[in-house]
C-alpha cells in the first residue's frame, strides 16, 4: 500500500467530481418530483408504451451492476490473482449501480409515495416481487462480501462470500430477464432465451463499465495498467461482446423460425423506423462491430485509450439495444385478434408512438448520477484503487510479457 496522501489539487478535483455527481442526482430527483406532482402526463409514456426511458436506464444499471460483480467473482471464486485485487472496486461499483437503477425504477412508479406498500405487500407469484427480494438480497450479500475483503480477520470468509455473491448475481440477472420472459402476451418477450441472454449481456456491460471506471481511476492517480493485464481484460471483454452477439442472433433467428413472429422481426429489423436504425446502427455497428474491431485489430488497439473507447461504445450499444428491446417491444401492435386487421381509438393495430420527454431522461440520468456519486465517494473513502503486485502475479503463473 503505497498510496500517497491527496494533494491540494486532487482534493479539489475530488470535490468537483462529487459535486457534479450530486448535481446530476439532484436534477434527477427534481424531475421525479415534477413527474409525481403532474403525473406521467408530462412524460412521453402512454397507455401503449407503458415503460419508457427511465426503464432503459434502470435496467441498464441493474443488469450492469450484476455484471460488474463478475470481476470480483473471477478473483474470489475462480481464484485468479489478477482479478482479486479488483474485487473491492467491483463490489462497490455493483452496489452503486444497483442503487442508481433501483432508485430510478422506484421514482418512476405512478405512486412512489407508496414504496412502503411495495415493501410490505408481496405477491409471491410475481416475478417483479421476486426481484424485490433479489435486489435487497444482493445489497446485503455484496455488503458482507466487501466486508470480508476489507476486514483482515474476515479474509478467510471472502471465498464463500464471493461464491454466494456470484450465485446470487446469476439468479438476479435471470430474474431481471424473466421480468420480460414471462410476458406471454407480447410477441417481443415470451422467450426462454431472455434469461441467459441477460446474463451474457450483463457480463459484457458490467465489464465495460468496470474498465471505464478503472481507466479513469488509474489516469487520476497517474498509473497505467500493465499491458499484459490490459490485454487479458480486453480479451475477456471481446469474448463477452461476441457472446452477446451470438445470443441476440439466436433470439432473432428463433423468432424468425416461428411464422407468427416474422411480422415482429420485420418490424424490429427492417421497417420499424427508429428501431431498426438503433438496432443496426446503434447496437450492431457502434456497440458490437466497432468495439470488436478495436479490441482485435492490433493497430487500433495500440492507440491510446483504445480499450476505454471500446468500453464506452459497448455501453452506448447497450442503451440502444435496451431501447429497441423495451420500447420497440411495446411499440409493435399487440395481436389481440390474430389474422384480423384491427383499428380503434386505443391504438389497436397501430404502431405505438413514444417520444421521450426531458424529465424522464433527466430521471434516468439521475440514476447514473447516483451510481457515479457513490462510486466517487466510496473509492475515496475506502481507497479501492486496484493495486497490481506484479511479482505476486508472476509467482501465480501469469506471463507478463
Amino acid at each position: 500500500m503505497q498510496l500517497v496522501p491527496y494533494s491540494r489539487g486532487e482534493e479539489r478535483f475530488f470535490y468537483t467530481l462529487a459535486a457534479l455527481g450530486g448535481l446530476v442526482t439532484l436534477i434527477g430527483l427534481a424531475s421525479a418530483l415534477y413527474m409525481e406532482i403532474h403525473g406521467h402526463a408530462v412524460t412521453g409514456m402512454n397507455n401503449q408504451i407503458v415503460w419508457g426511458l427511465p426503464h432503459v436506464f434502470a435496467i441498464f444499471l441493474i443488469v450492469a451492476a450484476s455484471g460488474v460483480l463478475n470481476v470480483a467473482s473471477i478473483g474470489s471464486v475462480f481464484g485468479k490473482v489478477l482479478y482479486k485485487s479488483r474485487a473491492p472496486l467491483s463490489g462497490l461499483l455493483c452496489l452503486a449501480m444497483l442503487a442508481g437503477g433501483l432508485t430510478v425504477l422506484m421514482l418512476d412508479l405512478g405512486r412512489p409515495d407508496r414504496i412502503i406498500v411495495a415493501a410490505t405487500h408481496y405477491n409471491f407469484s410475481s416475478v417483479f416481487a421476486w426481484n424485490v427480494f433479489l435486489y435487497s438480497g444482493m445489497f446485503s450479500i455484496v455488503a458482507v462480501y466487501l466486508w470480508t475483503l476489507m476486514e483482515r480477520r474476515m479474509n478467510a470468509y471472502s471465498k464463500p462470500a464471493g461464491f454466494a455473491a456470484f450465485i446470487w448475481r446469476l439468479i438476479l440477472t435471470t430474474g431481471t430477464g424473466s421480468i420480460f420472459g414471462f410476458l406471454v402476451a407480447r410477441q417481443a418477450y415470451q422467450s426462454a432465451i431472455l434469461a441467459p441472454m441477460f446474463i451474457i449481456m450483463s457480463f459484457a456491460w458490467g465489464l465495460a463499465a468496470f474498465m471505464v471506471v478503472q481507466k479513469a481511476m488509474f489516469a487520476w492517480n497517474g498509473l497505467t495498467l500493465h499491458p499484459a493485464l490490459r490485454n487479458r481484460m480486453k480479451n475477456l471483454l471481446g469474448i463477452f461482446v461476441a457472446a452477446t452477439l451470438y445470443f441476440v442472433a439466436v433470439y432473432h433467428l428463433t423468432n424468425l423460425y416461428f411464422a407468427k413472429q416474422v411480422a415482429f422481426e420485420r418490424f424490429i429489423l427492417v421497417d420499424g423506423g427508429i428501431f431498426p436504425a438503433l438496432f443496426w446502427g446503434g447496437w450492431f455497428l457502434v456497440g458490437t462491430v466497432l468495439p470488436l474491431a478495436i479490441l482485435y485489430t492490433p493497430g487500433l488497439l495500440a492507440m491510446r485509450g483504445a480499450v476505454m473507447v471500446a468500453s464506452i461504445l459497448v455501453i452506448l450499444g447497450a442503451f440502444c439495444q435496451l431501447y429497441v428491446f423495451i420500447i420497440g417491444g411495446q411499440a409493435f401492435p399487440l395481436e389481440i385478434f390474430p389474422g384480423l386487421a384491427a383499428a380503434s381509438s386505443f391504438g389497436d393495430g397501430m404502431v405505438g408512438q413514444y417520444s421521450p420527454s426531458l424529465p424522464e431522461f433527466l430521471l434516468g440520468l439521475g440514476g447514473i448520477g447516483i451510481a457515479f456519486t457513490i462510486t466517487t465517494i466510496g473509492v475515496r473513502v475506502f481507497h479501492f484503487l486496484p493495486q497490481d503486485d506484479l511479482a505476486k502475479l508472476e509467482a501465480a503463473g501469469h506471463v507478463l510479457e
Partner: protein, 148 residues
C-alpha cells in the same frame, strides 16, 4: 392465492398501524416536552352538520379509531365485496359534508380537513375519492371517455 395476500394484508396493516402509533406517541412526547403545548395551526372547530343522527360509533371511539375502521373496511368492500357495512367512506361523507360547500374538504372548517391539518396528517384518499356529498355521475361527455 387471493386469500393469502389478504391475510397478510390484515396483519401487515395492523403492524404498520401499531408502528405508526408508537411513532406518533414518541413524536407527541418529544414535541410536547420541547414546545410545551405550543402549536401553529389553530385548534380545529369540529362542526357536526347532522347533529340529530348517530355516528357509526361513539365520538370517543371515532376520534381514536376512524382511520383503522376505514382501512379495514375498504379491504372488505373491495376485496371481499361486502357492501352495506356500517362503516363506509361515502357514508362518512354523506353525513359529515359541510352544508355550505357540500364537501368534507376545502378549509379548516370542513370536517375531514380541520383535524388533519391540526394533526399534520396528509391523506391520499382524496386523490380518488370524491369529497363532495351527493355528487351524481357526471353527464356523458361529448365524446365518450378521456379525450383531448
Amino acid at each position: 392465492m387471493t386469500k393469502l395476500p389478504f391475510k397478510l394484508l390484515c396483519v401487515t396493516s395492523r403492524l404498520r398501524a401499531f408502528a405508526s402509533k408508537l411513532l406518533v406517541l414518541a413524536v407527541v412526547l418529544v414535541s410536547g416536552l420541547a414546545l410545551a403545548g405550543e402549536s401553529r395551526v389553530a385548534k380545529p372547530a369540529v362542526i357536526i352538520e347532522k347533529a340529530d343522527s348517530q355516528c357509526v360509533a361513539p365520538p370517543e371511539e371515532m376520534r381514536r379509531n376512524h382511520m383503522e375502521m376505514l382501512k379495514h373496511q375498504r379491504d372488505k368492500t373491495l376485496r371481499l365485496g361486502q357492501r352495506g357495512a356500517k362503516v363506509s367512506l361515502n357514508g362518512c361523507i354523506e353525513c359529515h359534508a359541510s352544508k355550505k360547500t357540500g364537501s368534507v374538504l376545502g378549509s379548516g372548517e370542513n370536517f375531514c380537513q380541520g383535524c388533519h391539518a391540526y394533526a399534520a396528517v396528509h391523506l391520499d384518499c382524496w386523490d380518488c375519492h370524491q369529497p363532495k356529498a351527493h355528487t351524481k355521475a357526471t353527464p356523458a361527455p361529448a365524446a365518450a371517455g378521456a379525450k383531448p
